[in-house]
């Protein structure tokens, strides 16, 4: 998933100061149309509207409102699954076959009936197109050659066959992801060009059955959703949702305060503090499935020492970071599973302890520290955290040179394993612990030409034992046992890994107080605008 954008510190400061100067002025009121929800957000990350390809945060939310899937997770309790177009499902004794019965009388927004045939087509199409999120399905042994046989419609049911006895919750959780959205086969095949299954057309169009339909996407300007009157479930409470691309947080705040926007999505911590005193504006927040971490490349001679890895974890001023840099937008969290996922741990044993770090460094043979570089993209809160780390690490003799860069520049370097230290973020791709265990705690092959290149690989962290443990957890069908397995892996990970997990992201939205039922989901595709009521 693409990285959340935060405006640079300097701009934010300038804006905060300017606004503070005029804070005493109460703005004159404007209002948005009563049947329309206006959301201001930075959404220049959207590159496609095809759920088989879309993997960006802003697009995720659009897909969640506009497309149905077989099952959804319950936003109130993400460990529960709710039927969506599936009426019910059964898992075979060996766990390798799941049979879904599809609800009767469903319709796409186009008017075409939604049948088991469409469901099978949608999953097959995602695998055959093979775009970025396809791995969520192909990890179960599906590929272009076998998918037509493994995923098939038969009458009112869809049969989903996988290669191994994975934990059924894992498989079902994966089917809640956007990539498993149900698309309109008849409509798409009528738009097909050169056997592309409607890929070229769907990039900028809509072929779904969800509570809202996508009316228009004007890149970097607007996305308009409209109520889908043929939706099978509870109908949308507003007729229209308009997302406007407003990159600048200060501008978002002005629009919200003035009443020209109903919801602002990217306010800075300072702006959030400022609007707290406005009685017309409320805030809502939720812990997202994203963690921010620093990672140490094990190709670096000093960083590869176990004592050094641990020492680094004592050199971050977590409490200062939590109270200032990520106030309102994050919570200190030192584990790779974000809170909300099965098996997530809230143990945060590390705090700033320079003496302890010095002892560990001496034990590793670096009593006077060493020099090292860190690749950092120049946005907040990365900048603040990195600079704070540079200061505190210096107290133990470690000289950190910051190499600032654009997000794609630093990422390219990270993917090529040529960094020393990297600061980045990782988000859950689907709502199951395996999503993060797969990347933080699994590294099947540490060779340069490995096929899988998880985060552990990117940091050259060779962990055959932990990889085995993560694989076992993937197959455990007893949820209670599975939870304990992930907690064990995390305990080991906290002590030995080259990852310094810093915090979990909180998403905060500020909204006009005449809105009800606005709830941000733990993943972007579970923020449901159609449930929002506008008084």
């Amino acid at each position: 998933m693409r990285i959340l954008q935060r405006p640079s510190l300097r701009l934010s400061l300038v804006c905060a100061l300017s606004l503070a100067m005029l804070a005493t002025m109460a703005p004159a009121q404007a209002a948005t149309p009563k049947d329309t929800l206006v959301v201001v957000t930075a959404m220049d990350d959207i590159v496609t509207l095809d759920p088989a390809e879309s993997f960006e945060i802003s697009a995720g939310e659009i897909m969640g409102n506009a497309y149905d899937r077989l099952v959804r997770y319950d936003v109130a309790d993400p460990s529960k699954l709710l039927p969506d177009v599936a009426k019910s499902w059964t898992v075979s004794a060996d766990g390798k076959t799941i049979t879904f019965e599809i609800k009767d009388g469903l319709k796409f927004a186009s008017g075409n009936p939604l049948t088991a045939e469409d469901v099978a087509f949608s999953l097959q199409r995602a695998v055959i197109l093979g775009k970025t999120p396809a791995f969520i399905l192909t990890q179960f042994g599906l590929n272009k050659a076998n998918v037509a046989e493994k995923v098939r419609a038969s009458g009112k049911t869809v049969v989903f066959e996988i290669d191994k006895s994975y934990a059924p919750t894992l498989v079902l959780n994966c089917l809640t992801a956007n990539v498993a959205s149900i698309v309109d086969k008849k409509l798409l095949m009528s738009k097909e060009q050169n056997g592309d299954m409607g890929y070229a057309w769907l990039k900028t169009n809509y072929a779904g059955s969800g509570p809202m339909k996508i009316r228009e996407w004007r890149a970097n300007e607007i996305v308009t959703l409209e109520k889908n009157d043929s939706y099978w479930g509870a109908k949308s409470k507003v007729n229209r949702v308009i997302y406007r691309h407003v990159k600048e947080a200060a501008t978002q705040r002005l629009l919200l305060e003035k009443g020209d926007a109903d919801i602002a999505r990217n306010l800075t911590p300072q702006d959030l503090d400022a609007v707290a005193s406005n009685k017309d504006i409320k805030r809502t927040s939720t812990s997202k499935g994203y963690v921010i971490y620093l990672s140490l490349n094990q190709k670096h001679p000093a960083l590869s020492k176990p004592e050094v890895r641990e020492a680094m974890k004592y050199l971050l001023d977590y409490s200062a970071i939590g109270q200032t840099l990520i106030k309102n937008i994050g919570t200190i969290h030192q584990n790779f599973l974000p809170v909300g996922l099965l098996g997530a741990s809230t143990d945060n044993p590390y705090k700033l302890d320079v003496e302890r770090a010095k002892q560990l460094l001496a034990k590793a043979g670096y009593p006077n520290g060493f020099k090292v570089t860190i690749d950092m993209r120049t946005v907040q809160p990365y900048q603040g955290i990195t600079e704070s780390f540079q200061q505190t690490a210096k107290r133990a003799g470690i000289e950190i040179e910051i190499i600032p860069g654009d997000g794609k520049q630093t990422l390219a370097k990270y993917r090529a394993r040529t960094h020393d230290i990297y600061i980045g973020q990782w988000g859950a791709d689907y709502w199951d612990p395996h999503t993060n265990a797969d990347t933080f705690a699994r590294n099947p092959n540490n060779a340069d030409d490995a096929k899988d290149k998880p985060l552990a690989w990117r940091n050259s962290w060779d962990i055959p034992e932990m990889t085995k443990k993560s694989d076992t957890a993937m197959f455990e069908r007893d949820a209670a046992k599975r939870r304990v397995m992930y907690q064990d892996i995390q305990a080991d990970f906290r002590k030995t890994s080259p990852f310094i997990v810093v915090h979990q992201i909180n998403e905060v939205a500020a909204f006009r107080s005449n809105l009800e039922e606005l709830k941000l989901g733990p993943t972007s595709d579970a923020t449901y605008m159609y449930k929002v009521n506008k008084r």
Binding site: L22, A28, K203, T204
Partner: protein, 353 residues
Amino acid sequence: MTGASSPGSGLGKRLGNQASILSRFAATVLLTYLGLLAVTFFIGRVIPIDPVLSIVGDRASEELVRQVREDLGLNKPLWDQFLIYIQKVLQGDFGTSILTSNPVMQDIRRAFPATFELATLGILIGAGLGIPLGVWAAVKRGGWVDQSVRVMGLLGYSMPIFWLGLMALVVFYAKLDWVGGPGRIDIAFEYSVPRVSGLLLLDAALAGEWEAMGNAFSHLVLPASLLGYFSLAYISRMTRSFMLNELSQEYVITARAKGISERRIIWNHALRNAMVPLLTVVALSYAHLLEGSVLTETVFAWPGLGLYITNSLQNADMNAVLGGTVIVGSIFIGLNLFTDFLYRVLDPRTRAE
């Protein structure tokens, strides 16, 4: 007109001359474009940003990355890539933007009118106020008018547009409610104006949606005034110095000696002469505004060309950047031609054969 085609006749010679001037001109323009494209293309390919990552994101498998790289033709030698690109451009195909999934020209047809409206109103304000102020300052040299114009110019020069834009929004939009806020039009009017030209004022007028037109204007006036103010600062300073130069010329003294009114001397004689270099200043200011101003567009959530090109560049979306560059290049070339033409009208000497 049989004589026209016979060689040696005066008219034929003149036409021949014109043709050769024209073909030389066309060659220059073509070369300029080619150079522009080549430089942009190669810079775009050597910057350390991978366009494939922009499309597939961080999670893509190696296989997909390789496949997309191949689909985009990025594994071919740079020269081949460039030649293929030029070939397509000559057929009128500027390619598809990887960020918006739209043909680049379709994107630009959407972004450019937004910038065009802003820039045009901006330059009208800038030149319409800047030139008289500059003249006034030159005439009352050293007086309080001159001083205040200088201070205003200096402020316009040195204040960050980002900050000024935000302050202007807080005061005139949020507090006083005199103007529309960020964006081109209120959400309520978003779907009431059919987009024909992309110029909202014009489209609203064509559709007879006068309320929508008024609303679009109220959104336009603040960012346009800001851009106008910044070009005003520059134009008034230049006007002042051109005018000072003209007013110290001997023909002015002669005119004064002849008893011509001071007003005619300033506006008919001196300004007319100062107008020739001034035109270049105004045209260049206009061209700069038409490129789009990233910061203004950011603060005012204005979906214009500046943001489009910047965002594309940051993602190495080279088709979009190249398409944008061609448009900006065309603006510069077009405005240069236009000022050349105006020179001929204003300055009889340039008309001499």
